[in-house]
């Protein structure tokens, strides 16, 4: 009744149009218009029951229907007011209401097929609820519930969360070593040199110190190829070297001056100091070359490498110093020889790196150079400088190859689904959808990812289904159960109807050959059970 009440005001504006018509025309015309107005509420009164939700649909059919209605009803205009209450009174019983609705619908929609489809889709509340559930259920439930519950429990728990919180910092622990590595680098850059200097004051060998000074001069003079190449690189950017060598310059300048003073002040025979001087700074090694006292073979290689890489030298120096501390009992020469051997190996490795690194940064700004050097040092320390560089790129290459093979949770490797198949499928569906645009590479990548996710999800689901059935083999029934749960298979949609739509004939035949008897058996069982229930 509320609907009819709504429709009355709708008639009223039309009535307002009516008086305008009366102003222009005679009373007869006005009466006819009133008669035309009167049937209108009858038509929507029926329509409202069938097609309630859409207002736009009401208007257009109203217009169409009015004309025949008015034509037929104009002579009865006098009786209409009586008809209205009569019709309103009639639908009180449900049968009468339905009968009226069906009549009205039958009059409006000529095609039987249209009626059925429209009614079935619109009117059954189950379908509406299903659609709602499909739309709402997937988005809301799974995401919110799990994390919130866990958090609330942890927080609400008395002292247990504290215990649990402790392991959480454990995760940062993983990152800690990396930070430590960087920190160590930063510390190593500036402070250790400073620390070395006071140590030199305490324990200094005059010979080594002298050798350090001479070494510098000797390095510049040495004509050997490695030196020349590196010196040429350095010499090309002489200004850059000075600027770049902020680290380098500090080391030599601080060391030699203080060392000279130290030598004058004190003369001590400690292998450790020698080792430190040798390892800690390029000068020491260069000094060795100049003196020629130590192994002649060792001399040329050491200084060149150390000039190029300041930070690395520090790392090496620490390692060597440790070695030297162990060998303190031995003679200084022995320790030096050991250090020299280690240095040679490291330097040989370092030489490749440095050439590669320095050649690039020379073009760029000094800050970039420093940044590069810092990065190099960090990487080297993480890898422990002893490992040569060549194996590293070898490791990277296989990683790229591994990307093609994914590893599932179970630990099995599996290939990615063929993207061409994905593209073919997607194109066919897109055409069926009516979109003209082709599928680009980006969308294809996204689709391939989606397929990966899909197969992962479906695999897990199928595994659970098979396990529930107590089978170790995944069978057709599992997939059918899954699709039934997905609402892809319903009483109207069988597997075969779907397969006929989507699959080529060859696959259809294979489907029909084997699982068909099983399906029939299942269906019969279900039908029997239903019949039993019904009986």
């Amino acid at each position: 009744m509320s609907e009819s009440a709504r429709k009355r005001p709708r008639t009223s504006p039309q009535n307002s149009e009516g008086p305008e018509g009366t102003g222009n025309t005679t009373l007869y015309t006005s009466l006819r218009q009133l008669a035309g107005i009167a049937p209108r509420p009858t038509t929507p009164f029926k329509r409202a029951s069938s097609a309630g939700p859409t207002p736009g649909s009401r208007r257009t059919p109203n217009i169409v229907i009015r004309t025949p209605g008015t034509v037929a009803q104009t002579p009865r205009s006098g009786a209409r007011p009586r008809q209205f209450p009569a019709r309103r009174a009639a639908p009180t019983t449900p049968h009468a209401i339905r009968a009226l609705r069906e009549r009205a619908n039958a009059a409006r929609t000529p095609g039987a097929h249209r009626r059925r489809s429209g009614r079935i889709q619109r009117e059954t509340p189950r379908d509406i609820l299903r659609d709602l559930s499909r739309v709402l259920a997937p988005t809301t439930r799974p995401i919110k519930s799990s994390p919130q519950v866990q958090d609330s429990r942890r927080q609400s728990a008395l002292d247990l969360p504290d215990v649990e919180d402790d392991p959480e910092p454990a995760a940062p622990r993983l990152s800690m070593p990396l930070d430590d590595m960087y920190d160590d680098n930063s510390f190593d850059e500036a402070p250790p040199r400073q620390s070395l200097l006071p140590e030199f004051l305490d324990d200094v060998d005059t010979e080594t110190i002298h050798s350090l000074e001479f070494g510098r001069r000797a390095l510049s003079e040495d004509p050997r190829m490695t030196f020349a190449a590196r010196l040429s690189e350095l010499g090309l950017g002489g200004e850059e070297l000075e600027i770049d060598r902020t680290f380098i310059n500090r080391r030599p300048t601080l060391n030699p001056d203080q060392i000279l003073q130290d030598t004058i002040q004190e003369e001590v025979d400690d292998t450790t100091t020698e080792i430190r001087t040798l390892t800690g700074q390029r000068e020491g090694r260069s000094s060795e070359v100049g003196l020629g006292v130590f192994g002649q073979t060792d001399e040329p290689d050491e200084p060149t490498f150390r000039f190029t890489i300041p930070q690395r030298i520090q790392a090496q120096a620490q390692n060597i110093a440790q070695d030297g501390a162990q060998f303190e009992d031995d003679t200084g020469q022995d320790v030096e020889s050991n250090a020299a051997v280690n240095e040679e190996e490291e330097d040989a490795i370092a030489g490749f790196e440095q050439d590669g690194w320095e050649s690039d940064p020379h073009v760029e700004d000094d800050e970039d150079l420093q940044a590069y050097r810092e990065e190099v040092s960090a990487v080297d320390r993480s890898l422990q400088t002893h490992s040569p560089e060549r194996p590293i790129p070898a490791e990277i290459r296989p990683r790229r190859q591994r990307k093609e093979l994914h590893i599932s949770r179970c630990g099995h490797e599996y290939p990615s689904f063929n993207p061409t198949v994905v593209k073919r499928l997607a194109n066919s569906f897109a055409k069926a959808q009516g979109s003209k645009g082709k599928i680009g590479n980006d969308t294809l990548d996204a689709l391939v990812k989606a397929t990966d996710f899909f197969f992962e999800q479906i695999g897990e689901d199928l595994a659970v289904y098979a396990q529930h059935a107590g089978r170790k083999i995944i069978e057709e029934s599992d997939v059918i159960a899954l699709m039934r749960r997905q609402r892809k298979i319903t009483s109207n949609n069988t597997i075969f109807s779907l397969a006929q739509k989507l699959l080529p004939r060859e696959l259809l035949q294979e489907l029909r050959m084997h699982p068909a008897p099983k399906l029939k058996g299942q269906k019969r069982k279900r039908m029997e059970s239903i019949e039993e229930e019904a009986g």
């Binding site: 179970c410 599996y414 959808q433 979109s435 989606a450 197969f455 057709e476 989507l502």
Partner: protein, 76 residues
């Protein structure tokens, strides 16, 4: 729609790797059928969203937007 066969071996391998179980003979056909339904759904949704965004063709962004919802629809 799909006029040619799909690589049955790879589908079997993929599902086998995820489930850690062996497959009966023709399960992969049904699985591929389900996958085809999934693709149909995802492309339908993606085309709708891309049209809503006034894009000519289906964009990767629209696919990514739709992907999760479609996966949820096909969860068992």
């Amino acid at each position: 729609m799909a006029q040619t066969l799909y690589p049955r071996g790879t589908v079997k391998k993929i599902v086998k790797a995820h489930t850690n179980r062996s497959l009966s003979k023709n399960v992969d056909v049904l699985i591929f059928l389900n996958y085809a339904l999934f693709m149909q759904d995802i492309i339908k949704e993606a085309s709708i969203t891309s049209k809503a965004a006034n894009e000519r063709s289906i964009s990767a962004l629209s696919v990514r937007k739709v992907r999760e919802g479609c996966l949820r629809k096909f969860a068992g």
